[in-house]
Symmetry: D2
């Protein structure tokens, strides 16, 4: 995965709120959608996992900065970059773009920090190193620099 | 449970859509909320179950008829009546009322048909009789007659 | 629209519940997704409407019968048939299929009854005839016959 | 509002995901619930607003740090502190506690940064000072210090 990973989707009616825009909590669902698609692109599923014992990636931090609203039927592109890879954790930067003809416009950017865990023999979750077959496929990228305001 | 069971809630912003009203799918979430509160009132939890093997109540049918919209900050009462009790299935009628001072106004009515299941030794779900300790506590009621339309 | 209309999607993690399957309320969101895509295929948007005054299609009835569960990463096809066209209302039958290689398997079927409304000069919603340019494009189909249970 | 503001709720089944815990995006819905209840406690509603022109508080930043999972039927308390009050913006710290008998246990903490806006004569949203009648009622608090880890 030497480059940015992205998915596209169209905003659904049920994702809007009475302000006429996408509810801010839904950006976090979109982040997860691109994250899971990214894992699939590496041949890994958070559910259909071939590792023994199975691993998962619960999030310890999630954040989003909003610059423009999204509306019903907008077409968007969501781009993921792994900006930090530690032994047991990954940090994803996730950029939201609204597509409008030839132009794309950034509307929000988020961050997910996830930790690799597995269930110990005592039934409790514990952080473990990311399996080598997955870690080796993940290349880190520079974060997108902040938008100039003004 | 010789009589109607009810819960109250206030409509949240994230439950509205860009039409300014509660999204129609959320009425089904509300139905489940009153259903689970009803089970708790019988001393039963769909999750923390004391039966062996554990049972669950997946739905095989859900429906709703909408007569008036609900809006942000509306206070509502959701009433559940068990209108049919079979050996392995229950039918719940669920009535939605908007509270406005002394008055209450019906805004929607729904129906859930749920089947009692457990996991067999082969790992597959199979319908089983509702345990006697639960079934004995459930009294059926007449369904609320349809609203006269005028 | 002489034939069935359909869309495909992949089940997202946030659509599942602790039973490990798609929460039953989400089938109603999926129904709306295919309904809106169907309108777009007719050149009509429930939001970007060219009619004057603008029209909308609030639902007065929604129902679903569930036969099999859906799980994370399942690929599904959702098919819409207009099975009744009245002067002011449409009835959609909506069929859910799980795609698995060459095979497709029906997992649920739903129904939406929607009424054409517009806002009157007094600001209240009132049912109105479906505009001719939309109604003329909609062909009704036979409903899919019930599944034989065996 | 000289002190912390809080609301309680019970986790609903539809808020869980297939990992058996509350989906991380739902913490942002809960944040909004306590935020709106806080405004109501000041005599202000984001919807039924008495100001002219009406104001709103869209979020420009939302974040959450997760330390423990929440599960179905858990009872939680969500506490809001205004930790920064600027001319046109507020920063809310939001603390999530799981209630278990006498004990409460912090499970997550979030932050919302909201900006006061109104619609200009050109129809576009613009940041404006928080009305004095609202601003005067809001007292800022120290943020809760970070949890010691280890």
């Amino acid at each position: 995965m030497p480059s940015e990973f992205s998915v596209r989707r169209r905003i659904e009616f049920s994702e809007t709120d009475m302000a006429g825009i996408v509810h801010f909590s839904n950006f976090f669902r979109y982040m997860e959608t691109v994250e899971h698609a990214f894992y699939r692109s590496l041949g890994f599923s958070v559910v259909h996992d071939q590792h023994n014992p199975p691993i998962g990636f619960p999030r310890v931090h999630a954040s989003c900065d909003y610059s423009k609203p999204l509306r019903f039927e907008d077409e968007i592109e969501i781009r993921l970059r792994v900006i930090e890879k530690k032994d047991k954790a990954l940090t994803h930067q996730i950029l939201f773009y609204k597509l409008a003809g030839e132009r794309t416009m950034e509307v929000a950017r988020g961050k997910l920090v996830v930790v690799c865990v597995t269930k110990g023999t005592d039934g409790r979750m514990a952080a473990v190193p990311i399996p080598k077959d997955i870690a080796d496929k993940i290349e880190i990228m520079e974060p997108e620099p902040p938008l100039a305001r003004g």
